[in-house]
Each structure stands twice: as C-alpha cells, then as structure tokens.
Symmetry: C2
C-alpha cells in the first residue's frame, strides 16, 4: 500500500536523521570517563523504531518547524526513553538480559555504569533542550524542559514505573491499568507530539487535537505491546516474551482477553487518526502511524 510505504520510508529517514544528530550530541570521547560515554552510546545506538523522534518531527512538520530544531528535541526524547530502558532492565527492576537482540547495558557494562549511563542520558536530554540551537525563543525552550520533566517525573514515567513494580501479583482493574500505562509509556508519547506543537507555537485548539491523537495512540501502542508479549515471536522481537504472565502482571490482555484487546487497539488507532482530520493531507503520516502501531509485529 503506497501510503504505508511512505510511512516506512519516513520512519527510516527520521531514525537515520536523529541518529546523526545524536552522534553529534554524544560523540565518543577519550579520557577517564570514556567508559560511561561508551555505555550511553551502546544503549543509544542499538537500533529501535525511534517512534518518539518520528512523532516529534512529524508533529513539528505540521507547523513548518525547522528540522534542525525538531531533530534536537527528538534526540532529547530518545535520551529519556533510552535512560528509562536502561534502568528498567536492571536486575532490581524488570531484570532483562536482552533488548533489541543483544545484551542489555548492565550485562555489557556492569550495573554501576548502567545506572550512571541512565542518569547521564537523562541529564543530556535537558541540556539539549535548553541550548540555543533548539529554538530561537527561550520561552519555547523552557516550555519544552518543563513539559518533558512533567512527562518523565513522578507524575509521569517514573511514577508509572513505580506503580508497575508494585503491581506484580496484584489484580488491577481496567481503570488502574489504563492509568499505569498512561503514566509509564503514555506521558512520553504525549510529550513527543506536544513538543511539535510547542516548537511550532501552535494555537491551543491545534495543540489539543494533537494531544487527543497522542493519548489514543499511546494507549493503542501499549495494548499492542501487551498483545506482543502475550503472543509475539521472541526471535522477531529480539527480547523475551510472556514476561507479563510470568510476573503476574495485569495487562490489557489479561483483563480483556486477546480478542477484545485487539479490537480496542484498532478502535483507538482509528480514533487517534480522526483527531487529525482538520490538518488534512499534511497529517497523513501521523494517521498512517496510528495504523502501523497496532499492526506491527515487534
């Protein structure tokens, strides 16, 4: 299908562009702290879909934002995402040895360095956002820092991970599971889309439509993640599956069953796309992405 082909091309192009940007922002370095930078780069340049960078760039494109600016914000979000993966994989957290088909950061570099690599990646994200090159208007840069901090902090990603850890062998209902996921993965996905609107100084109605898209997309994404953990192919995914059931975690699949979960994800993906109708043809990639997110195999 031509449109989906267009999305594939755009995803790959954004991934390549954000990796080039990250390469400049986090170059390899000699010196006593090179071990830390090596660990940060190992986790940062491990492939991955670069979904969040794509959301930033595609949202910012709606408002004609300079790509150099949107790619810096995309790089910052990827630093936060990557830090969260490194810390989540630690033995005292989710205890994962493999990610994207290779050893996780703490397996490769040791736990102490992995903790510090996550810490320093978080720091780097905020440094990138605050620098002049991210946007000429310092108010916009502050707004990005503030919004990213809210998405990543105690009332966002870190809070969600806390609830997730406390939920092993606890039965959550659908409302609690939804809130957990809105914090743990939804907040950063929402920020990725919101960042495009902030960079483009979008009007409030435009920003709200994008936020509606992001909320539905984030939930559709997470339900699909649960489905993949339930029935995905570990070889294709490059990581273990069936972990939620083993850890006794409530997921959308355990609560709704796989069939209803699939229907719910598809419904959310359609609804996400509808939020963008007023943007017309310009929003075609973001709309295609909503379909891709629920149809992906990894």
């Amino acid at each position: 299908m031509a449109m989906q082909d267009g999305l594939e091309v755009a995803l790959l192009a954004t991934a390549a562009a954000v990796e080039k940007k990250l390469e400049k922002l986090l170059p390899p370095l000699a010196g006593a702290e090179h071990h830390l930078i090596e660990a940060m780069r190992y986790s940062m340049f491990a492939g991955g879909k670069r979904l969040r960078p794509f959301l930033v760039v595609a949202s910012a494109d709606l408002f004609g934002v300079n790509r150099d600016c949107s790619l810096r914000v995309a790089a910052a979000i990827e630093c936060i995402h990557c830090y969260s993966l490194i810390h989540d994989d630690l033995p005292v957290m989710d205890d994962d040895d493999m990610r994207r088909g290779r050893a996780t950061c703490h397996i490769k570099f040791g736990q102490a360095t992995a903790i510090l690599a996550g810490d320093a990646l978080q720091t780097l994200a905020f440094e990138i956002l605050a620098e002049d090159a991210t946007h000429e208007d310092p108010w916009v840069r502050c707004e990005l820092v503030r919004a990213l901090a809210r998405a990543a902090g105690v009332h966002g990603m870190a809070g969600g991970q806390t609830i997730d850890l406390a939920s092993e062998n606890v039965d959550l209902d659908i409302g609690e599971t939804t809130r957990l996921q809105q914090l743990k993965t939804g907040a950063l996905i929402c920020f990725s889309v919101e960042a495009g609107a902030v960079l483009g100084k979008a009007s409030n109605p435009m920003r709200n439509r994008l936020m509606g898209y992001a909320r539905d997309l984030g939930l559709a994404f997470q339900i699909t993640d649960d489905l993949l953990d339930y029935a995905g192919d570990p070889d294709e995914m490059g990581k273990a599956v069936g972990k939620d059931a083993k850890q006794g975690k409530s997921t959308f699949v355990s609560i709704m069953g796989p069939e209803r979960a699939r229907q719910q994800a598809a419904m959310l993906a359609r609804q996400a796309a509808e939020h963008l109708d007023e943007f017309g043809q310009k929003a075609v990639l973001l709309k295609d992405l909503a379909r891709y997110v629920v149809e992906r195999r990894k």
Copy 2:
C-alpha cells in the same frame, strides 16, 4: 567569634527556608505513586548542611536577587545533590547503609524504589528551574538548566562518579585526583555559586571572580572530606569513616599525607576568600563559609 556566629545563623536560616520551599515543591501525596514520593521526601528531608543552597542564596544576594527565585534554584540543586547521594549509596556503587545517622534510601525503601527516587529527583530539579516562578526572563531559566545539566552530566558529576568507581585499587596522582573531585563534587559546587551570578545577570568579571571562589572552595571542601574520612568521628558524622582506605581509593590524604592536606585545604580556603575582595563587606558570609568548610567536624 561574631562573624562565624553570623554564618551559623545564616546557614540555619537558609536550610530552613530551602526546606520550606522543597516542602511546597514536593508535597506528600496519596495515590498509587505515593511510595515513590515518600522515598524522595525521606532522602530530601534528612537534614544535612544544605551547603549548596546556601551558596546559591548568598551569591544571589550579592546582586539583590529576589529570595523566592534563589530559593527555587537552591531547591533544584538540592534535588540533584540528593539524587546523586541516593544512587551513590546503592550496593553496586559505594554500598552505604547509613547516611546522616539513619538508613539510606535503598535500605529503607528497596533498591528499585531508590533508583526511581533518584531518577525522579533529577527530573524535578529541571522542572523547577524551567518554571516561570524561577526567573521572569526565560533566557535566564534556560541558562540555569543548561549550566546545571553540564555540572551534573557526563562531563561533571556523573563522569566524576564513573572515574571514582574505576579508581578503586588504582593509584591516581594528584592531578588525576584533583580532576576526579572537580567533576564529582566540584562541578555542582561551582554551579551553585554560578547560579547566583546567572540569576543576578552579573557581569563577566564578577561571574569569573565568583567561579574562582567556587573552584577553590570546592577543592578545599573535598580535601576536608578526605581528612574527615581519614580521621573523623563516625558518631559525629552519622556515617562510616575509613572507607576510602578500605576501598583502596586514592585521596588527597593518601597522596599528600594528612598534614600537607590540611595545609593545602587552609591555603585554598584563604585563596577562595581573596577572590571576593572586590565585593567588599557584602561577601562576608561567603568568605566565612570558606573558613567554615575546612574547619568543620562533619
């Protein structure tokens, strides 16, 4: 001595004021993530000298900065300092069970929550700095975010901790030890003083004098820390001593011997104070602080 009494009063007053500010910025909260907030608050409200907050406020006072603004920056720095202590105390890092006379965060809340509490405290620091209330000029807020990120990141505190971990049972020379400490503890102390200058939009010569003060002060502080670990009273300090020797770490004391280390610290404290001569009587508290830092018993 009257001047030192004035410093004691000022240190206590700033500590109380920054704790009041932190109480507002990180209130206790019901809800599923309350456990995380409790861990953050446990470590944040554990007493301590609040040296870095004092440096921010006293430097900002030189330029007549509104105390509401300087106390917000002081709170942000304390969040970063506290996050670094929580992560440094973890078993895979320095493995400390006690800090300030009570159980460390991971002993009290478990390692997973301790890691997340550190993560979320770092995030909170940047959120505080980016908010409107920190300074009316968004350029100043961006400059604070950028400078704090540099001080805390791979070329600052996190880089220093990496070198420190790699230095167990390795003989460092005086230059390597100095660089390690400039990164690990010096960068955040420098930023604390610099932040006052940024908030006050100080001229470059003024800013440079303050930075000279901060560099000497930071080194004097660290040498004294090494001396206290070598010969301090564990009851008075509320933590174990003799750890550096046990871990085979090079310190200013192991390299120079205690007597020369003491002389060096005293010399640096005098030199720190001299950087501030041009500020006249206004800088008396900062000058007294330099003396206090090397004379303290804990």
